[in-house]
């Protein structure tokens, strides 16, 4: 029994204890031009096939799960003997001030692209995207573990955050090879929102008085939601849900690739710079109050009043009185920045260095990745990457693409997570099937590959 429960506990920790990302991360995919979806990370990436058609739903499925705070092995340590033990103090020591648990799912519903006149590439895609980002403060876990008595007189900030967003992206992309050295690209995206929960920058403080141990709380909480609440569930199956909501927005992806010389190529991209204005089934919850509890007033009992507890709960209820409105609101997408440099090692291989940053909650979350990218044959290419992200250095990325008329690919930024989930903070995978037509001859392809890898 104990063994089983421990096993379940480990699995739960694995699920909860992963994520990091706030949106998709494609650090390995960035350097795999054989896959047309690499344009999602760098819009200036020119696909190698003249015509690329993504199989509906199957052309790109992306899943990401992570926890920036700790690994399972930070909490569950080996030994002594043949058992493990829980080391909460070690886990807490790994946390930063604010930590994130994130989950992302993206599915290409439809995508295709075509190259015209050799130097122009047009693309169109419809992508279903869903993100969940939950932020939790180290303060809170310290407080729970050590008890409030360990923090007497201190204002403990319990600033939790929650972002849940589900939207569909209709994108039109264009890549233009300006010269032999410079290629630029961009993608204009119309966004259709379905659900959203935005609870950011919320403040909740808890103070235990150092003298009397009285409790004082202050809260300043703002939560916006769209697509939840009465009347929305019944529409879930209807066209209203999938097509007619008034939650619209725009976003843009921008990218550029510059070939400095035969060895060095530099690139940069800005992804998901945009917003959604939420207008359907919106609710705006605000709570701004203070609550103080210094103990039970025994005079209420001496007066024969047995409602002392009710008075206390009423007081708390008033302090945390939540006001609800139903106004539209706007959210920004979690924009991402890639800065890349590649060095050609051979005609078939190059090494890449990639800097990555994502804006979340007004904070830039950085990552750095070094990759080795190899085109073994005209139809098979692989990449390996080593990435440091989320204060975690155990991220080994792997990707491969088998490309013929039908292309199958699979890319992950952290393959370790599939085998040692307890040792990593992040795991993600993108895989899919594309139809690729008009590929260049092996020689031409080789030339193209060279350019792409440079």
């Amino acid at each position: 029994m104990q063994y089983k429960s421990i096993k379940y506990f480990t699995v739960i920790l694995f699920v909860l204890g992963f994520v990091n990302t706030k949106a998709q991360q494609d650090l390995t995919l960035y350097n795999m031009p054989a896959i047309q979806q690499s344009m999602y990370a760098n819009p200036s990436q020119m696909p190698q096939s003249k015509i690329n058609i993504g199989l509906p739903v199957l052309s790109s499925v992306y899943f990401n799960l992570g926890n920036s705070g700790f690994r399972v092995t930070d909490l569950i340590k080996s030994g002594p003997g043949d058992s493990n033990h829980i080391d909460v103090n070690n886990m807490l020591s790994k946390l930063s001030k604010s930590n994130y648990i994130s989950q992302t799912l993206q599915i290409d519903l439809l995508s295709f692209g075509i190259r015209l006149f050799e130097k122009n590439y047009f693309s169109f895609s419809i992508v279903e995207k869903e993100y969940i980002n939950f932020s939790y403060p180290k303060n809170f876990l310290d407080w729970v573990w050590q008890g409030n008595g360990a923090f007497l007189g201190q204002n403990m900030n319990f600033n939790f955050g929650l972002n849940v967003i589900h939207y569909r992206e209709y994108g039109i992309g264009y890549v233009r090879q300006i010269s032999d050295k410079l290629t630029v690209g961009g993608k204009l995206k119309y966004l259709y929102g379905m659900e959203d929960i935005s609870a950011q920058n919320n403040n909740f403080t808890f103070n235990t008085d150092a003298t009397d141990y009285g409790y004082t709380t202050n809260d300043n909480v703002n939560v916006n939601t769209s697509g939840f609440g009465p009347g929305t569930g019944s529409n879930f199956q209807s066209p209203d849900y999938w097509l007619n909501r008034k939650n619209t927005g725009m976003a843009v992806d921008l990218g550029a690739t510059y070939k400095l010389n035969d060895k060095f190529t530099f690139s940069a991209s800005l992804i998901d710079l945009g917003y959604i204005n939420w207008r359907s089934y919106t609710s705006n919850y605000t709570s701004n109050g203070a609550f103080n509890f210094d103990g039970v007033d025994i005079t209420q009992f001496t007066k024969g009043d047995t409602n002392a507890f009710n008075k206390l709960t009423d007081s708390a209820k008033n302090a945390f009185n939540v006001k609800t409105q139903h106004k539209s609101y706007t959210t920004s997408l979690p924009a991402q920045v890639y800065l890349g440099a590649n060095y050609k090692l051979s005609e078939k291989a190059n090494a890449g260095l990639l800097l990555y940053g994502q804006f979340f909650n007004n904070i830039l979350v950085p990552a750095i990745s070094a990759s080795y990218n190899l085109k073994l044959t005209n139809w098979f290419s692989v990449s390996a990457a080593y990435t440091i992200m989320n204060r975690d250095a155990t991220n080994v990325g792997v990707g491969f693409a088998v490309t013929g008329p039908v292309q199958f690919y699979l890319v992950t930024d952290n393959v370790i997570g599939f085998f040692l989930p307890q040792e990593v903070k992040t795991v993600n995978v993108r895989f899919g099937v594309n139809l690729c037509f008009g590929r260049k001859s092996p020689k031409a392809a080789s030339d193209s590959t060279k350019a792409s890898f440079q």
């Binding site: 569950i76 493990n84 008890g147 003298t211 210094d294 103990g295 005079t299 692989v382 370790i416």
Partner: protein
């Protein structure tokens, strides 16, 4: 070739790197080993009590007899009230059920001769018969007059031996209503058999019965019977023909009653008033002085009866048998000649009061109070008409609304000293063993601000019961070593009034060893000790503006396995 070889080496490094990334699969089994339980040792702090206690919270609670009263200067007195006695009309004059019977004498020969010669259909009046009845009051009153209330039962049964029809008129000439005497006529129908019986219920409500027979008697009135025979048959009248009347009063109550109610003793039994100020006070635990205690007796009387009252017993009392008698030397109370309304004040109440204090009790009142009695015990000897029958035109009167009430009020102005006054209480108390085992140490913090001129000590004993003889075996105590938790506020010695509150924080720690000692606790004995300012050497006054702030918090180091 060299270049080709170099490329292959580089390509090989890449492939090895990729394969390396795939080589960890077996390590996950490490995580499937059982997890040993870990210790969870949070330090929890919690506020428990935060109260500001005023005089009302501390001195008087849940007692309908007691109250606390502040004068215009906010100076406080404790007031305890009781009712010495309360008399209503029936307590003084009781009118029992009673029956008066009368039989008319036989017919005169001349009457029979004349009547027998009359033709059928003729009327023949007999002479009027008069009966004088003696109204009974169980010797509790000599009634001059009385007015009966509705509901008073007044009945008449007539048994006729006349072999003719007849009418009988009953008249009470001195029972009048609006100047008209009480009269009622009954028809007796002879149907061939005797006797002829008639039963009637009469209404005497509102009639004034004058029972003096014109100022010559009491409790008497006349009833006249006028009989007229109606010759309905040729049956001759006999000398023995007559009629018997039976008149009765039952459930008699009166609106007003005048006369002389004699000299009954109106002595209620011994009674008590609880003094809750001293509840829980341990007898003999200390001294208590009040500068000026008072007892006030308040009379409300609407009886037209002079009453003298003497206090047989007045004393403080502590169970089981500690008496602290009060000797009243006030001439007004020896005896207390209680005022009463005159005939011109009928229906009104007169009031009077008298106070006793140390001055008119030879200081025995203060001495009794200073013994912290839990009760005041009293009995009163009261007698109506102590000087005999009032001289006319004065008379006693009692109304159905008359009340004779003597209230009792103990006033304890809170000005004085208290030394080592000890309050104790015992309450059931136990710990959940799992809770106790989870607590590694416990700190109880009392943060008190005392605005009362009283040093307050507190102790709580954890006790179990190890034998019938040792029911309260002390395991440990909260305050160790014992100390004053709330030092007295500072007092202006000239006025006895507090001029500055005093704050003190006290910590009491229970380590694991002490926690183990009290794990079998069954009860908690709470003890409070009170000494007024300056070790009770200065008289202090209590004001309604005094307060005491109490904050109690706990800091617990828990230890549990997860």
């Amino acid at each position: 070739m060299i270049l080709l070889a170099k490329r292959r080496v580089k390509d090989g490094i890449g492939i090895v790197s990729i394969l390396f990334a795939l080589s960890f699969s077996s390590c996950i089994k490490d995580m499937q080993r059982p997890i040993a339980s870990a210790q969870y040792t949070p330090l929890l702090a919690a506020p428990v009590v935060n109260s500001t206690l005023g005089v009302n919270n501390l001195l008087v609670k849940d007692n309908k007899n007691g109250s606390i009263q502040a004068d215009s200067n906010n100076f406080l007195s404790l007031i305890y009230r009781g009712r010495l006695f309360s008399l209503v009309a029936n307590n003084i004059v009781k009118i029992p059920n009673q029956i008066f019977t009368y039989t008319t004498p036989g017919l005169m020969p001349a009457d029979t001769t004349v009547f027998n010669t009359l033709p059928v259909g003729s009327s023949y009046p007999l002479p009027m018969y008069t009966d004088t009845v003696a109204f009974t009051t169980n010797n509790t009153a000599a009634i001059d007059s009385v007015i009966f209330e509705p509901g008073t039962g007044f009945s008449i049964d007539i048994i006729s031996q006349f072999s003719q029809n007849a009418t009988i008129t009953v008249t009470i000439p001195h029972a009048k209503k609006n100047g008209v005497s009480f009269t009622q006529t009954f028809n007796l129908i002879y149907t061939g058999s005797l006797p002829v019986i008639v039963v009637g219920n009469l209404n005497v409500s509102g009639y004034t019965f004058d029972m003096t027979e014109g100022g010559t008697a009491t409790n008497e009135f006349n009833i006249n019977y006028s009989i007229t025979l109606q010759k309905s048959t040729n049956t001759p009248a006999q000398l023995t023909d007559n009629a018997s009347m039976s008149i009765g009063f039952n459930n008699t109550s009166f609106q007003k009653l005048f006369g002389y109610i004699e000299q009954p003793f109106l002595s209620p039994n011994l009674d008590t008033v609880p003094i809750t100020l001293f509840n829980n006070t341990v007898p003999g635990g200390g001294t208590f002085t009040l500068v000026n205690p008072q007892v006030r007796f308040i009379l409300t009387n609407s009886y037209g009866v002079p009453i003298n009252a003497t206090f047989n017993t007045l004393m403080g009392y502590n169970p089981v048998a500690s008496d602290y008698p009060v000797t009243v030397v006030d001439p007004k109370l020896n005896p207390w000649q209680m005022p009463y309304p005159t005939i011109t004040q009928i229906g009104q109440s007169v009031k009077d009061s008298v106070s006793i204090s140390n001055a008119n009790t030879n200081n025995t009142l203060g001495a009794a109070i200073n013994h912290t009695p839990k009760f005041f015990v009293y009995s009163v000897n009261a007698q109506a008409n102590p000087n005999g029958k009032p001289i006319a035109p004065n008379t006693n009167f009692v109304l159905d609304t008359s009340r004779f009430i003597v209230d009792f009020q103990i006033t304890l102005p809170l000005w004085g000293t208290a030394s080592n006054i000890m309050l104790m209480d015992t309450i059931p108390f136990s710990f959940s063993q799992s809770t106790l085992n989870s607590v590694d140490s416990l700190l109880i913090r009392i943060n008190a601000t005392n605005g009362f001129p009283v040093d307050m000590g507190f102790q709580a004993y954890f006790v179990d019961s190890i034998s019938p003889a040792l029911r309260y075996n002390v395991l440990d105590s909260v305050v160790s070593p014992y100390q004053v938790i709330l030092p007295s506020a500072n007092v202006d010695t000239n006025t006895g009034k507090v001029n500055m509150a005093v704050n003190k924080i006290s910590d009491f720690t229970f380590g694991k060893a002490r926690m183990n000692k009290i794990k079998n606790v069954k009860k908690l004995i709470l003890k409070g000790t009170f000494v007024t300012y300056n070790n009770a050497k200065t008289n202090v006054k209590m004001f309604s503006t005094y307060f005491m702030g109490i904050k109690i918090g706990v800091l617990a180091q828990l230890q549990t396995k997860i």
